[in-house]
Symmetry: C2
Subunit: 596 residues, 2 copies
């Protein structure tokens, strides 16, 4: 009942018409992303996602994963393992990885479209290969040559998967508090001791081996985040020459019983003197972790997008099929016993909210991935630096906003289904449950907001924000010559001004009271998000004007019109909240000081 | 881990200090609600809710209900049945029912506080007695004398429960489409045929008999809502003299597998020629249904409030206990390895959002119940009419807003728990899942919005809205004399003006295009809700000024300050959306017209 059809035409519109990836990446190293290649990848991925993965989504939720307490093995839901075999056979696991390690080195922006499809089709299944991507990044940037040869090659070809072992029961957002220990041993390796929780795909039956990337402290390491190192801890020991050894002392001790994402194994991992290799420099594990984390944060933004898309598709179909009541201005389908509910303005509001958020969100996250490609592959170092700064600015916005949007979109989609949406069989409630983790893992919305305002804006005196806002202004100026778009540009300009002013004000206020940053961060991020979406809409309209564009121009204009009329007013609301300052949120405030 | 402590002091503050129920109801018929009686009821209910019901909440979710397909019986979760026995033994089932039928006839406003506690403690359990209240109202107002004697008395003493059988697979919001048939038989009774779905507490093991109130069509009844009649269909036949007869031909055919509220049996009920009595006039079933529905809608608003309260309590406790990272301005608890997360401004924002919505929401819904009492019990007919009009205006606001708030509050509470909130053991995700039905059943938010703007405002030329807004203005004028509150009054006045202007504008626009009502309804309701909350905050501040008030005045002022600074800006946002008109939502609009 709950279907998924990959929105390939819309993806082509974004990749080719809005972002022009072919010309943008023409000078880059690696396989040139020819349009035909990109289109073939999209078609193949669409088939795999909708035909293989999508039908397993409900099964995965109903079955969940099973831990065998005796040997610590985990059985994944029926069909998951076989789907992964197809995935690796088709070469999907190495899509964007370097050719040197067996990958196809296609651009990340194309990989983003493929990830979106996987996430729409089956978010839980998608978490197993997901962390391999982060591990690839960490090994690529921080691994020694032999580590890449031994581990990266197997991760790229999909025969092993990776994990990120960060969180401990008492150390979530605050990694500085982590306690896992790494003790050097006689062989030049390390013995890892400690318990990690919430480890996605920590144990499963997809592959013979699993490569855990683990944060732990060396003896006498400084306290806090400056004393964290990263280690490679394989499930089965692997010698430097690649020989597989004995079962390592790392085991899954329990699976979490979660609200959603039940097909994904979320593990408590016990390290009882497990053997591991240091990766990167001692006490520099946080830097290596952030390499994985940035990629993972964009990937979680894509999860939000993917869930929203599936929710939208199904609620749109239902709204066209379900008949209930007549339009207020008289029957629209007199031949039916009632009108399809899509005629009711508030149903349309809920559908268009999803559509406007999704289409602009797709431009945002694909663009950030394109900037990643440029940052890594472009020959011009200055352009690489600028691209790096841009993706760095956009990453917290994308991670936080696209996941908050997923909560909102799955909410609207379920609401459109009414009571039927609350019942498992329509699949809508699963989407809402699955979405709920995305605003939390890989750094909560709150952490993203502090990252954006603190590190990405204030720490560099708003330099990259300024450059971005100048581009927004250029886009507004361009749109102002069009009679219809002039109004959109005006609204976007107003929001951008609120954002720039807000950043300047918080920067001043923070000199007297650092808490002002914390009081403004959330609303600053949301305001920045609506500016980013508005910008994305202007870019889409510019692209939609071309007759060859992969879109219906009238549909794009009407959706943009909805966005600026019905969603952009949120920008001023967030600015007003931010403008009220930290006063009402201060810890010295009388509210919350008494018991309940 | 997930606890509930009834906020008795806050309830006293609302009942005694804000609403002055003792003096308000002094002239009314029935038991005078003396303060001592009210307080004793609150204390007893608090004990029952937190000690008996709250511990069964997680059990109910984990176990759910079990249908025996052979005989159609339903087994409720362990402990539920015993708790109901305690409930009836203590006389809770007849708390507000007329003394003539065995009730205690305490005011509904006091019953509201008791319901809130039950809903906080165990929403699923609370759905079993919930519908009895609606059935009581229907029988009281529309039943024949013998029907009251036979059925009402048993429902009031709790030995039987009631249901509302409205929805059919193809007829949810649109009751005019329902197909269930009622055929007169030789005995002067009727034979009911048809299938009803989503029937809350349609079958269970709490009581020996269940009294279904069923909507069905008589032969040759007019089409649509004017051809609907209501019937009493007991699980076991009951003769006019009260004699219990054979098992009636009504059976539970299936239980729904739901996102949440799993301890509540949601039944498919099959009527295969079940014997029933007509209640009220033929073809006037909708009026009788609305008697039940209005009471049920306020009850669902209370469910939203109850869930929000429990979510708030637990997230507040967690925010005080969980230590993670330091305050941006330096350590607040240097003796701990990190600061409690309540020091972080955005955690405080999420807590205060809940607090501000809950405390004002409580005033709103209790006040509506007080108006119900006045409408029914006050000797002055003019005052009765005014009270009736007021509760009628507020009911859709309360139903929609308090349930949307529950979605928001449970969202924030889960977010504060981070990854731990996504795990079943903390109980936070259950609250979020349970909350998700409340914006749907007893009329979706969309239906409430149309009811408010269409029936309650435009249909009477905004008369009651105008009277209410005049009271808001009086409150603003009163508050303006206070230096601090003057700012709050200004913000409320601005929102009230937007609401009044909005109503006037839609009224004009609707003459040309009826769709404008549908395009404005949702944002109109949300805007009206923030006006209502602002008014509630001014009322609370006025009451908090009294030294004898059951509150901490500084806490109330700080929370009000937060409300006007950080939540009231939503009012202007909704006004802006509403102001954009139905244009972007029109069915002729190009968006949504193409396939995805």
């Amino acid at each position: 009942m709950n279907r998924y059809d990959a929105p390939v035409r819309e993806m082509r519109f974004v990749l080719h018409d809005v972002l022009n990836i072919e010309s943008q990446l023409a000078d880059c190293a690696g396989t040139p992303p020819q349009r035909e290649v990109a289109d073939a990848v999209l078609d193949e991925a669409a088939r795999f996602a909708s035909e293989v993965l999508a039908p397993l989504n409900a099964v995965g939720d109903a079955e969940g994963c099973m831990l065998d307490k005796a040997d610590g093995s985990v059985r994944t839901p029926k069909g998951f393992r076989a789907a992964y075999a197809q995935f690796t056979e088709s070469g999907w696991s190495g899509l964007t990885a370097p050719e040197a390690w067996g990958g196809q080195h296609l651009p990340e922006v194309l990989g983003a479209a493929v990830k979106e499809m996987i996430d729409s089709a089956n978010l839980a299944w998608g978490t197993y290969p997901l962390l391999s991507h982060g591990a690839t990044e960490a090994l690529k940037h921080h691994g020694e040559e032999w580590q890449r040869e031994v581990f990266l090659r197997r991760i790229v070809d999909g025969s092993w998967t990776g994990t990120m072992c960060l969180t401990e029961p008492h150390a979530g957002s605050d990694l500085g508090m982590l306690k896992a220990r790494a003790v050097p041993d006689a062989e030049g390796t390390f013995r890892i001791h400690g318990t990690k929780i919430f480890i996605t795909a920590g144990e499963h039956d997809f592959t013979d081996n699993i490569v855990h990337l683990v944060l732990a402290r060396l003896p006498d390491a400084p306290a806090g985040v400056k004393g964290i190192s990263m280690f490679i801890v394989p499930k089965f020991n692997v010698a430097r020459d690649g020989t597989i050894g004995e079962r390592n002392a790392v085991r899954c001790g329990a699976l979490e019983h979660k609200m959603g994402l039940r097909g994904s194994s979320t593990c408590v991992m016990n390290f009882d003197g497990a053997s591991g290799y240091l990766i990167g420099k001692a006490n520099r594990g946080l830097a290596a972790m952030f390499t994985m984390m940035n990629s993972a944060r964009l990937a979680v933004g894509l999860q939000g997008l993917g869930l929203s898309e599936r929710a939208f598709q199904n609620s749109l179909r239902y709204a066209r099929e379900r008949v209930q009541m007549r339009s207020l201005s008289g029957p629209r389908s007199p031949e039916l016993p009632a009108d399809p509910i899509i005629v009711h303005p508030d149903v349309r509001r809920m559908l268009l909210t999803q559509k406007a958020l999704i289409e602009a969100g797709r431009v945002l996250v694909y663009d950030a991935c394109l900037q990643l490609d440029l940052a890594e592959r472009h020959p011009d170092p200055e352009l690489r630096t600028l691209a790096e700064a841009r993706t760095s600015l956009l990453t917290p916005i994308i991670k936080a906003f696209l996941t908050e949007s997923a909560v909102e979109c799955t909410y609207h989609a379920l609401q459109i289904f009414g009571g039927h949406g609350y019942i498992a069989e329509t699949g809508m409630e699963q989407l809402a449950r699955d979405a709920r983790i995305t605003t939390i893992y890989e750094g909560t919305t709150q952490i993203q907001a502090l990252d954006l305002l603190g590190r990405k804006v204030l720490a560099n005196q708003g330099q990259e924000l300024g450059r971005w806002l100048a581009e927004v202004e250029t886009a507004c100026a361009g749109a102002s010559t069009d009679a219809v778009q002039a109004g959109f540009a005006e609204a976007l300009r107003a929001a951008a001004r609120l954002l720039g002013d807000g950043a300047a004000r918080v920067s001043r206020q923070a000199r007297d009271n650092a808490e002002e940053v914390g009081g403004a961060a959330y609303d600053f991020l949301m305001l920045a998000s609506y500016v980013a979406l508005g910008m994305a809409w202007l870019r889409m309209l510019a692209a939609a004007g071309e007759p060859s564009a992969h879109c219906d121009a009238a549909d794009k204009h009407a959706t943009a019109d909805f966005f600026f009329a019905r969603l952009m007013p949120r920008a001023a609301m967030h600015a007003a909240c931010m403008g009220s300052g930290v006063r009402t949120l201060d810890v010295a405030n009388a509210a919350l000081s008494a018991g309940t």
